[in-house]
């Protein structure tokens, strides 16, 4: 491991969807995998999430959406981060996202979408690969040594 701080991840629930199982499981899992995790709780407006992400200085924003409103809510978070000069934060999305919408989300600037059946291992390795500081055994294609 490099001598640097833990990767900070904001697990956020934008909008009014109250299904928090996935978000909480991912939050617990990433915490156990060595990340610093902040969970927003339910019913967060996109702007609140943007502000929290900046205040908490996170590296990654994970949005969990199961209500079908993922396109609208994600766009507002991604745009909000850019507007506030925090467009470098990686945004990932999890939840019930139809296959056809995954490309749309990536087109907005979302780095990856994890749907039902994804494992904590996949998510954590993906983040480590992209943000850096990952274990030597990581098989992904990310830029481990950036910063």
């Amino acid at each position: 491991m490099h001598d640097k701080r833990k990767i900070r991840v904001l697990v956020a629930k934008p909008g009014l969807d109250g299904h928090s199982r996935g978000a909480k499981v991912v939050a617990y899992g990433l915490r156990d995998a060595g990340f610093e995790v902040i969970y927003t709780g339910l019913h967060q407006a996109p702007l609140q999430i943007v502000n929290t992400a900046i205040q908490e200085d996170v590296d990654v924003v994970g949005l969990s959406i199961l209500s079908g409103a993922h396109l609208n809510l994600t766009k507002r978070v991604v745009d909000g981060l850019r507007e506030k000069g925090a467009g470098d934060k990686m945004v990932i999305v999890g939840g019930t996202v139809p296959q056809a919408d995954i490309a749309k989300l990536k087109g907005m600037g979302v780095t990856e979408v994890f749907t039902s059946g994804a494992s904590i291992r996949q998510i954590s390795q993906f983040i480590k690969g992209k943000v850096g500081g990952g274990p030597a055994s990581f098989e992904g294609k990310g830029d481990k040594d950036e910063h």
Partner: protein
């Protein structure tokens, strides 16, 4: 018992000896052959069920303690056609398939379309998330969510539009409605009453079931507004108002299912639902109502939800027995109807058991669920349709397959010819006892904490459920729990079998996209044409009434909705008085 005496010839000593011999002569060589230390399957004998009293533990279907079933036989067995989504016996008044999308106009047109296809029942309304959370369609909090997870209802005007599909022989004194609404349930009840008053229909004839089970929202599902304490005051208001004024209304539809979906274990599901039910019953009793005057109006949504066939069946049997015992022993209920755990289906697999991977496998899973339901006292409903996890809404193909599955289970497999086929099984009875005991243990733990409201305020129930969800995830990732097509049997030679989703769905995606702008215009029109002075005055009255804990707010809410006050205006007043629930940290 008079006359010919029947004697059960059970000799424990002989059975113990026979078992020992079986283990030595049959099991041991098999274990050796397969190089096993332990028998991978269990076999039950009367020794697993000592001192079994059939009458006390099982009884007859429709009789205390209701282990064998809520009714003497299943009501739909009296119908000629069958179960679930398809029309039932003409004498039964039931709400139809759970549905709702778009602006009220869109949902009204959907209902009219379904009627043209033969639907006869009332609406089973899914409300959009802004409505469920007490926000109007024009609120910044509603952006992107109007008309999406259900139909948007901000004012009585929207309700009136939906119910334009229900007039004449389908008027609201002839049909039954279901409202999947919790935090603002009393506002929706008020709208139904106001609608009846406007139509000149006596409110006593109204039949409906509001979900109105707010406590489970804090543990699963998350559609809460106010803190648990004031939420219980709202619950008390509905119990009292419905009992006194709406004799054909159900008060609540309690469900452990949402908590299970959120991660609760079987035992947590059972204990938490019973504890929540008990808390609502206490509200009614504390408000001075006789238990038998309102307990029969408690209904249940569903409990349970897993692929574990035997355990889910035992769970249903245990749940019926616990509820009956709770009512009889702890609340002193005397009316047989007070003791009934009424729910639309029994055991099922839950949406959480469906997989996005190889989704057609979900049909196989739900057939197992339909069998479990039939064998645990419910209809053989194969639920949910297989494409549930795709996030696209149920296709008509998937609904057709689900309907056919249950028809086949009923008419070809004849699963409904026997009620509680496992009654008296050494295995099933001991498993039922085991699950019931674990349920009571957790139930008592919550009572010791001070009851469910305290257990929710402290975050105990939420944290326990989240922990259970995480434990399950870890078992899936370690391969301890197997999910076909997800963490096993995923080799490249496996086929992902797909079927079409080509039949156009009656929900129009374009209308769904336009719903938000349409609703904002609708709302603007209402606010322009209503008597705004009256609304301001009535909201002030609501605020004053809300500050007086003993006052029942529903009559005030009826006045407010009749004057076309919006859901958010009413909820904002109550947010001001009651506060908003703040989630405990994980």
């Amino acid at each position: 018992m008079k006359g010919k005496e029947t004697r059960m010839s059970i000799d424990p000593k002989a059975i113990a000896e026979a078992r020992k011999e079986w283990e030595e002569r049959s099991v041991a060589p098999a274990l050796k052959r397969f190089k096993l230390v332990e028998n991978p399957s269990r076999f039950y004998t009367p020794l697993d069920l000592p001192d079994f009293d059939f009458i006390e533990k099982v009884g007859f279907p429709g009789q205390y303690p209701f282990t064998a079933g809520t009714y003497a036989f299943l009501p739909y067995q009296a119908g000629l056609k069958g179960t679930g989504f398809i029309p039932q016996s003409p004498e039964l008044v039931r709400a139809g398939r759970y549905s709702g999308y778009g602006a009220p106009e869109d949902y009204r047109d959907y209902q009219i379309h379904m009627q043209s296809l033969g639907a006869r029942s009332g609406p089973n309304i899914a409300f959009d998330l802004p409505t469920q959370l007490g926000y109007d369609s024009d609120s910044p909090m509603a952006e992107g969510e109007v008309g999406r997870a259900g139909v948007a209802v901000s004012t009585l005007r929207d309700f009136e539009v939906i119910y334009e599909a229900f007039t004449a022989e389908r008027d609201i004194d002839r049909i039954a409605s279901n409202f999947t609404i919790n935090a603002p349930a009393n506002m929706i009840i008020a709208m139904y009453v106001a609608l009846a008053e406007k139509r000149g229909i006596p409110v006593e004839t109204l039949r409906a079931t509001p979900q109105n089970d707010i406590l489970k929202e804090f543990v699963g599902r998350g559609a809460y507004i106010f803190p648990p304490g004031p939420s219980m005051r709202m619950m008390r208001d509905s119990i009292v108002f419905i009992t006194r004024r709406l004799p054909s209304f159900n008060i609540t539809s309690i469900g452990g299912y949402h908590m299970r979906e959120a991660g609760a274990t079987r035992e947590q599901d059972l204990a938490f639902s019973m504890a929540i039910g008990a808390a609502y019953l206490h509200e009614g009793v504390n408000a001075g109502l006789d238990i038998d005057s309102f307990a029969p109006r408690f209904s249940f949504n569903v409990f349970g939800g897993s692929m574990e066939f035997y355990k889910e069946i035992a769970f249903q049997r245990a749940a019926r027995r616990m509820w009956a015992s709770l009512l009889k022993e702890r609340f002193g209920a005397k009316e047989p109807r007070s003791l009934l755990l009424r729910q639309p289906l029994a055991a099922h697999i839950g949406c959480i058991s469906t997989t996005l991977q190889r989704p057609l496998n979900n049909l196989i899973r739900t057939v197992v669920g339909g069998m479990a339901s039939a064998m645990s006292g419910g209809p053989p409903e194969s639920w949910p349709p297989y494409d549930e996890p795709l996030g696209l809404g149920w296709s008509l193909e998937a609904i057709q397959l689900a309907e056919d599955a249950q028809r086949i289970l009923q008419h070809e497999a004849k699963l409904c010819d026997v009620i509680d086929p496992f009654a008296g099984s050494y295995f099933m009875e001991s498993l039922t006892d085991e699950i019931e005991e674990a349920g009571w243990t957790e139930f008592e733990k919550i009572q010791t904490m001070g009851g469910v409201v305290t257990a929710i305020e402290s975050g105990y129930m939420q944290q326990e459920v989240a922990k259970s969800a995480y434990e399950r995830q870890k078992r899936i990732e370690s391969g301890e729990d197997l999910v076909v097509g997800v963490n096993c049997f995923t080799g490249e030679h496996e086929l992902d079998v797909r079927t079409t989703r080509l039949v156009p769905h009656p929900y129009d995606p374009e209308k769904m996209e336009l719903a938000e702008s349409k609703q904002i215009a609708n709302l603007r029109e209402v606010k322009k044409t209503r008597d705004n002075q009256a609304v301001i005055r009535l909201l002030k009255d609501l605020e004053v009434a809300a500050k007086k804990e003993t006052e029942n707010l529903i009559p005030r809410l009826i006045e407010c909705v009749t004057a076309y006050a919006t859901i958010q205006e009413m909820c904002d007043v109550l947010r001001g008085v009651f506060g908003k629930y703040q989630e405990t940290n994980i």
